[in-house]
């Protein structure tokens, strides 16, 4: 065992995610409450022991909006999330939108998202998802929400948003794919034509290195990405292909937390001194991959496919001297208490094979 293997994230960092019922929403939402769910708001509270102050912010991602004439279920859930974020009391310092606002990068979808996001009046920061990008190669996204990467310091924490989306190898030109076809392949999680599209890239890594150059090695860093900064079941593109180089770059820093979306499921991982936290989507839950779920992850409960408010929403992470995950969803307890109800234990006899075709 080498030194890197026994390194753990700085125990002085306490990360909690809490949920609470907002009374003002309850008053106006009797119908919602009667339907069996409550306006749960979840936030992240960061408390750092090394000079930084505690603060709270909100995370929403993976809304996957379709045009309203296709379906409104994802719109309904995005609206709900944004209203709840805005109703937080005390208000969050800011909100991160973690990518995949749209389903197929359609301007109707992105513009719909921009309209819905007006509900959130607090400061918002954006990183893209692949569903936002590959119709027009990010043109409308960047115009609407600004380009990543970006950074700012907040209450003693260096906060960074990365673009892990725009680095796909060109598979479309030689095949003469239309923008819609390109987007369709990138939007297919178990597709193969997009290749290992997620990456930080050399140029962005140079930017990241220079951004951290004047930051103390023991000072807290919070990095937002759409995709997780480690290898998780490459066959479903649940990973960043140059994650090892990113880990090497971040290795000298003792207090790094990566928060990501994309996987639509609670995940928790530690690599060296960096921790990664996977967040719920508001749209739908992905199943856990058949292998490679980080051992430190506490799997969520099996969602009811007949209830599109189940398996989605927000989460809760709390810790003593280490980070512990405790998520809450809009419908029920997130974590299974028995293997039979677990999103991973449910698949104990399942053996999967990759597809032989993408499309006929």
């Amino acid at each position: 065992m080498n030194d890197r293997q026994i390194e753990r994230p700085d125990p002085s960092t306490v990360l909690t995610r809490r949920s609470f019922i907002n009374k003002s929403l309850l008053k106006g939402g009797a119908g919602v409450a009667a339907a069996g769910f409550f306006p749960v708001i979840n936030t992240m509270d960061f408390a750092y022991g090394q000079g930084a102050q505690s603060f709270r912010f909100a995370w929403v991602s993976d809304t996957h909006l379709y045009p309203k004439d296709v379906n409104t279920r994802f719109v309904d859930k995005a609206v709900r999330a944004f209203k709840e974020v805005q109703a937080m009391s005390p208000a969050a310092d800011f909100m991160i939108f973690g990518g995949d606002l749209a389903q197929l990068g359609d301007p109707v979808e992105i513009n719909l998202g921009a309209e819905l996001l007006k509900e959130v009046k607090i400061k918002k920061y954006f990183i893209p998802g692949e569903h936002d990008w590959y119709l027009d190669m990010g043109a409308l996204w960047n115009k609407s929400f600004g380009a990543a990467p970006w950074t700012f310091d907040h209450k003693g924490v260096r906060i960074i948003g990365l673009d892990t989306i725009s680095y796909a190898e060109d598979f479309w030109t030689s095949r003469k794919y239309s923008p819609k076809e390109r987007m369709g392949h990138m939007a297919t999680l178990d597709g193969t034509l997009g290749g290992a599209w997620s990456a930080v890239g050399e140029k962005q890594m140079r930017w990241l290195s220079s951004t951290l150059a004047n930051w103390g090695k023991d000072k807290p860093v919070l990095i937002f990405t759409h995709t997780p900064l480690y290898e998780y079941y490459p066959a479903w593109n649940f990973w960043v292909r140059d994650w090892k180089a990113v880990q090497e770059l971040l290795a000298p820093y003792g207090n790094v937390t990566n928060v990501h979306g994309h996987v639509h499921q609670p995940l928790y991982n530690e690599i060296g001194k960096m921790r990664s936290i996977g967040m719920l989507a508001t749209s739908w839950p992905w199943p856990y991959a058949p292998e490679g779920v980080p051992a430190l992850t506490r799997p969520m409960v099996r969602a009811d496919p007949g209830d599109h408010f189940d398996g989605v929403g927000w989460g809760s992470l709390s810790g003593g001297n280490r980070v512990e995950a405790e998520y809450k969803m809009w419908r029920k307890t997130v974590f299974a208490t028995a293997e039979v109800d677990s999103g991973t234990g449910d698949n104990r006899n399942q053996v999967l094979f990759p597809r032989v075709v993408d499309r006929l």
Binding site: P285, P287, P290, P305, V351, V356
Partner: protein, 150 residues
């Protein structure tokens, strides 16, 4: 004496008749067990994989020319079941909680089409249903048979 002579003759006649019938069947069975040629096996595989590919397309939302309407929400089966994961074909038939009755894989496919996807269910013996079933089974082909498990 356990049987009378008359009854013994009758039993013997039935036994001979049964052997004749069995002999015919055995001959047919033997004929059916002629060694397969490589071309035959390839043809069988081709028939199956063609259905797997059609099922893959339907499962991933490509319904062009198939005469189906498997979803009205924009959602395709694969959006919750990449690689046909979490379909658990090896666990059917079983009591299916959402349906509230003892159900087959085809019943569950139709439930997903009608409920989450808000589409039009398939006839249980339709070509499209068989293709979906072929894709799901093929994708889960080494899973451990575990019928009835919830």
């Amino acid at each position: 004496m356990l049987f009378s002579n008359k009854l013994r003759y009758a039993l013997a006649t039935v036994a001979v008749a049964a052997l004749v019938v069995l002999g015919i069947d055995v001959k047919q069975a033997v004929a059916h067990k002629d060694p397969h040629t490589a071309d035959q096996l390839k043809a069988f595989e081709d028939v199956f994989m063609e259905q797997v590919k059609i099922g893959d397309a339907l499962f991933h939302g490509d319904e062009k020319g198939r005469g189906t309407k498997l979803s009205r929400t924009g959602m395709a089966c694969a959006m919750c079941h990449p690689f046909a994961s979490d379909t658990h074909p090896h666990e059917f038939p079983k009591f299916q909680e959402q349906i509230g009755s003892f159900a087959t894989l085809r019943d569950m496919i139709n439930w997903c089409i009608e409920k989450p996807n808000e589409g039009e269910k398939l006839a249980a013996d339709s070509d499209q249903m068989k293709a979906l079933e072929a894709y799901i089974y093929w994708s889960n082909r080494n899973s451990k048979l575990d019928p009835g498990r919830h």
